[in-house]
Amino acid sequence: MRVPAMTIVFYVIAAITVAGALAAMLLKNTVHCALALTVAFAGLAIQFLELDAQFAGFAQILVYIGAVAILVVFAILLTRGSETPKEGVFSKTWLAGLAIAAMVFAVLSWAVLNSTSSLPGDSPKPTVSVLEIGNALMGRYVLPLEIVAVLLTSALIGAVIVAKHEKGSAK
């Protein structure tokens, strides 16, 4: 059985994604960070497509790049008053955070790399059509769907209330 090796495509896209992610976290200018984030989202969308999860991929593009990234940019623009603080963009305790993140990565990768035995070699590609997704959403997953709808509604309302200007409040 041919174990699909890491294709070149995977490595390139992975590199782009990681680069975007790193840039998002390391750049000084927050708008640049947001744009780098968009690149990372795009890379992830392509990964989804690679993984034959077309719907998820397009949903990723639509939602994340189309909405969340824009939202982040809006937020950055609205909070423009506090640009680059004097003490630098990294907090005082950056080393501890970095160490912990490194620990997390270490544990996760150790877990992943040491558990080859239980993973199957190759499995057939699952074929999921949009029709099936639609039927599932309206059938089996109707309750989560409705709940998510309510969630989105309340999030929408909440965000509006939280973020709107109050009459006479602090600017």
Binding site: S91, T93, A96, G97, I100, A101, M103, V104, V107, L108, W110, A111
Partner: protein, 689 residues
Amino acid sequence: MQATISFTPQVGASAITQLLWLIPAVPVVASGVIALLKQPKRKTAATLAIGSLGFSLLLALIAFGHVVSGWSHGNAVRETVNFSWIRVGTTNIDLGWVLDPLSAAMLVMVCFVGLLIFIYSTGYMAHDENFTRFFCFLSLFAGAMLGVVIANSLLLLFMCWELVGLTSYLLIGFWYYKPAAAAAAKKAFLTTRVGDIFFLLGMVWLASGTGTLLFYNNGGGSMEAGALASLLGQHAAWGLTAAGAIGLLIFCGAAGKSGQFPLHVWLPDAMEGPTPVSALIHAATMVAAGVYLIARVYPLMAAGSLLGGSTTALTVVTWVGAFTAVFAALIAIAQDDIKRILAYSTISQLGYMMAGLGMGGVAVGMFHLITHAFFKALLFMGAGSVIHGCHEEQNIRKMGGLKSDMPLTFVTYAAGMLALCGVPIFAGFWSKDGILEAGSHWSVSKGPVALLVFGAMLTAFYMTRQVVYVFFGHWRGHKPAHESPAVMTIPLAILAFFAFVLGLFGTPAWPWFQGFVSGREAPLEIRGLFESNVLLVMGESIGFVFVGIVLAWWLYGGKSPKPDTPDVLEKAAPLPWAWLRNRLYIDEIYGVTLIAFYAWWARVADWCDRRVWGGAVSGVAIIFRGWAQLNRLLDANVVDGTFDKGCEELSTGGGLLSRVQSGQVQAYLRWLAFAVVVLAVILIWSSRA
């Protein structure tokens, strides 16, 4: 021989005996009501007091009539009403009252003389601002004295006795703002207290010896045969039986109240009180209470005596009485205060009564008590009238010639004086003669009767001296004297009448009173006068009295010496005169010995109290304070140390822990991530293992 009628056993109490308790109760209640009145309500107070005593007199007369009718029908009356007062387990303390000839006669005397004195007081105290208070105390005294009279229980008698002593104190010290009066009241109370302690001892002994304090209780009383027999069986010290010892102890109480030597010192000083008080309390009634007490417990005192013989107790009573009679009469000769002379006279006559009781029995002593009450009250009231008329002057050397200025007072006073001296026909003659006659028969000794006869002469002497100084001669005072108002002289007249007439109830020809008291028949027998011994004694006493009067008249009559010149006898024998004048220095001796000892003892007790007991208390307090300090140290160091330290540690720990809550979101996130890492490692490790 006169037939003897013994007292019939009681079947039930008649109506008047059931109501007998009203006689003392009504004046006491009146006293209470008067106490609540305001001072200006004089008429109300006087009316209440006189009305209550009048009511008591009415009841007393009814009771007297009942006893007399019973006696004349041959049934000598002795009715008691007893009730149980306190029950402690199986022991009963009973109280009760008794109606017999003794108490009936005494009731009538006290009520009658008391009533007259009450009426007299409305006149005498008319100008005093404490009029209401006076009648309140007088009424209370009357109630208490009547309680003493009817008491059938030695305990009830004692309680009323104490009340009588209290009211005497209140009345002697009525003008309390005078230091002399306050001191006299205190002296009276304390001196009688000394006697009362022995009385109490005797009472307790009697209760334990016989099991009851009731006098008569249908055969079970302490004065009845069974109890007396048992007491005679018990022996005390010095050859006395219990009966004799108890009798002597009770006599000590009587000696205090009745002013026998050596407890007589309070009576002359008690003259500081208003004259009605002296008349009522210190002549007629309270001082007679002692004699009455001895008469009441006479069966006890006479227990064990063979017919015609005497007991130790009675012998002691007689000798003390006789000695007191002469002793006081001697002192009375040298006194110049009109009331002092009468006070010493009272002491002397009380000695006569005691001697009469000792030698002749209840009837003899009581007869003299009754007659003495009348004429001594008369004399005191007359003295009061004289003092009032002489504008509060009390020194007889500064009076004189009052027989023309105050004729009514003079006549009544003269009647009283003749009665006291024992001039025939007047009451005092018969009663004193009764005593002398009994004394001449006395088997133990003829000493007392000799003393008493000598005393009779002295009595005549000093009374004549007093009367001559006061009523004869020239007026030696400042302002002229005036007669007293009718409200004062009418009681004098009434009492004078009785002083003249009362003796006829007890003559040897017709011993009505003696028969009445002893429950014997008393036929009218003129022959009784002419029995040999009777005539002899009568002649003796008349002779001595005559000698006394003549001697005094010869020394003092017709002259009117100035107040500051020495007395005739003083010139003749200055040293004995000085002794007698200074009352034989008894008060001074007491002051140096007893009172000094008492003061020393009080100092010792005070030192003891402050140092020893106070020290003990302080010691305990110090121990407690030390303990408290120790506790405080423990608390501050150990408890606070551990507990507070613990709390501090907790607090610090909490403070330290709360630093985790830095408020920094990223710090929280770090901790979260770290915890996830740890969890993941543990999970993986455990699943691998």
